[in-house]
């Protein structure tokens, strides 16, 4: 009841092709995250699916039906906007009830559905307040309430957490994931934050300049990034890239090693270097190491390290976890 298929969908604004051509299949009940740097076309792609933008070419199939030319309201999707887009003059109750009222449902049915949605989202005590009397997280929940009350075949989220502070973001992330488990409805979620993508998604779609770089589960992308872009984008801190003779020795143009796959030893090791800045996170420490041969590398070690700025150390990569890339940035497997 919520499969979405994109067939060679393209979007151009005048001369500028924001999305050249995209093919993608989203199965019913999947939690799909579109992730990419700003300007990569991920929001445009979401708006194309929602029907807020017209596709220049290609077809969008929702539940097997061609929805390319359907108006937004007829597509059976609902969307949570970045600014929440609550109606400021309406109470929370009226906000959540609005789509039902527009659908012309009888009053008692609307009341029942609003009550259920409010109970799901812990909003029952706030139903008579206006949006401006709510905190950021509560507004977010109202926006989600307005989306779920219609029982759409899929939810679209457009960077919904970017206006919240860090602690609330983590909490809302959990709540949205929990909601997905409860409802089992297809969700498409747009974000530029790879942490959100990794933690929430069943399937991540990495976009860059309007093209899909790779599609896969979070761990697939982490373990086997197809190209340099995905390798650099997924994972935090970023993967270290090394070019030149060290890479050529392994038969690649570029090799990549994640910070967590580098081992620090006091002497010896494959590469030697000096310790630069150390970022202590408590559980982990990120060391920035200026090596003699392969440039600056980031290393992730345990929280308790006794290394000082300027110490000489050796680094050894985990041989099984070295990613190799050719001239064009494609992975060599």
């Amino acid at each position: 009841m919520g499969s979405i298929v994109l067939r060679q969908v393209g979007k151009a604004f005048g001369e500028l092709a924001v999305i050249p051509s995209i093919d993608l299949e989203i199965a019913d009940g999947e939690f799909v995250v579109f992730v990419g740097p700003s300007g990569c076309g991920k929001s445009t792609l979401l708006r194309l699916i929602a029907g807020l933008e017209d596709a220049t070419s290609g077809h969008i199939l929702i539940n097997g039906q061609d929805a390319t030319d359907l108006p937004p309201a007829k597509r059976g999707l609902s969307m949570v906007f970045q600014s929440y887009a609550l109606y400021p003059h309406m109470s929370v109750r009226a906000n959540i009830a609005f789509p039902l009222k527009m659908a012309g449902l009888p009053k008692h049915e609307i009341d029942a559905k609003v009550a259920t949605a409010a109970a799901t989202l812990n909003l029952t005590d706030y139903l008579d307040r206006k949006p401006k009397q709510l905190s950021g997280g509560q507004r977010q929940r109202v926006a989600i309430g307005r989306a779920i009350v219609r029982q759409p075949s899929a939810f679209l989220f457009d960077e919904p957490l970017s206006n919240l502070d860090a602690a609330l973001r983590v909490q809302m992330r959990l709540e949205i994931s929990e909601l997905h488990q409860q409802l089992g409805t297809t969700m498409i979620y747009v974000t530029h934050d790879q942490v959100e993508a990794m933690t929430m998604a069943d399937k991540i779609v990495v976009l860059n300049r309007g093209n899909i770089e790779q599609v896969g589960s979070p761990l697939e992308l982490y373990r086997h990034p197809d190209n340099l872009f995905v390798a650099g984008f997924i994972g935090s801190p970023k993967m270290n890239f090394i070019t030149g003779p060290e890479a050529a020795r392994l038969g690649a143009h570029t090799i990549g090693v994640r910070p967590e796959h580098l081992r620090v030893t006091t002497d010896g090791g494959l590469w030697s270097g000096t310790v630069g800045v150390a970022e202590h996170l408590g559980s982990d420490t990120f060391l920035h190491i200026q090596t003699d041969t392969v440039g600056t590398l980031t290393v992730r070690t345990s929280g308790e390290v006794s290394l000082n700025h300027g110490d000489h150390i050796g680094l050894t990569p985990d041989a099984a976890a070295i990613h190799r890339y050719d001239q064009k940035g494609k992975a060599i497997r």
Partner: protein, 290 residues
């Protein structure tokens, strides 16, 4: 910063302008009140004497007063109705992306820059004149008898002239308000299944309510004292059919040379304007809060 010293200095420094403004208001008001209790006729200089509330009782029992009161309210309400409804519609049109948007907006705004006497004369001679007017020409070419606007429906004619002048003002204010509507709210409503009419009623109109309030308040202030348009078109006539309170006070003072009676009329007008203001603030002022 707000120490005792700085506050005293601040009071001292604003005092001159406050005192000047206070005098500017209180001297004319005081003199008007004083004159309203005198028999003061410019044709009989030197015979001023205290007559108590006689001027008021004459003014308030004058049949012309009730006609003028009705006409004043009719002009205010009629013009407000046309400008608010028309302004919203024009704002909705101007909000659409069209070719030559800048020029169209300038043209729409133009009537506001034409001074009242000029626009009233243009309407009187070029549009509403039963012989030479454009409207008469339209009617005769359709085979109808031309309508003599200013003679048979003078009040309606004046309402149209004044509304034409104020329409750009309300359209412009409402257009800026419309443009400040969050684009995502429109899109959310669209996704929620609201058609164009529902979007207008449930999303745009509530968003415009504050701007509409401002338009009504500002226009009411000016519309209570419409004068030039009446002077150059109908001179308040025929009879008192298009006389409003402002014009009645003028006629009392400068046509009948009765300064005392006109002063009483002026004070009555002030009281009436305040009553209207209180009603307005009660009815719609709430939307301006917070």
């Amino acid at each position: 910063m707000a120490t005792k010293n700085s506050r005293a200095a601040a009071r001292l420094l604003v005092a001159p302008s406050v005192i000047l403004l206070f005098l500017w208001m209180i001297v004319p008001l005081g003199l008007t009140i004083y004159f309203s209790f005198l028999r003061y006729n410019l044709l009989m200089p030197g015979t001023e004497e205290w007559v108590g509330v006689l001027n008021y009782s004459y003014f308030l029992t004058d049949p012309a007063f009730f006609a003028a009161l009705f006409n004043t309210l009719a002009i205010v309400l009629g013009v407000l109705l046309i400008t608010v409804v028309g302004g919203v519609l024009i704002a909705l049109l101007l909000d659409q992306p069209i070719w030559g948007q800048g020029i169209v907006r300038l043209l729409v705004l133009a009537p506001f820059f034409v001074m009242p006497t000029v626009s009233a004369l243009v309407w009187k001679n070029m549009f509403m004149n039963p012989v030479n007017g454009l409207l008469a020409w339209v009617q005769t070419s359709l085979g109808m008898a031309p309508h003599d606007w200013l003679a048979t429906t003078p009040l309606f004619a004046i309402i149209i002239i004044v509304a034409w002048q104020w329409l750009p003002f309300s359209a412009l204010i409402l257009l800026t308000a419309l443009q400040s509507l969050d684009e995502e709210q429109r899109e959310a409503a669209e996704l929620d299944g609201a058609g164009p009419v529902s979007r207008f009623v449930y999303i745009m109109l509530p968003h415009l309510s504050r701007a509409i309030t401002v338009v009504i308040l500002i226009q009411t202030i000016f519309l209570l004292s419409v004068f030039a348009e009446i002077l150059v078109t109908t001179n308040g006539g025929p009879g008192t059919e298009s006389t409003n309170i402002a014009y009645l006070v003028y006629a009392q003072a400068l046509l009948q040379f009765d300064v005392g009676g006109a002063s009483a009329g002026g004070i009555v007008a002030v009281v009436l304007a305040n009553i209207v203001a209180i009603f307005l603030m009660r009815m719609i002022g709430r939307t301006l809060e917070t």
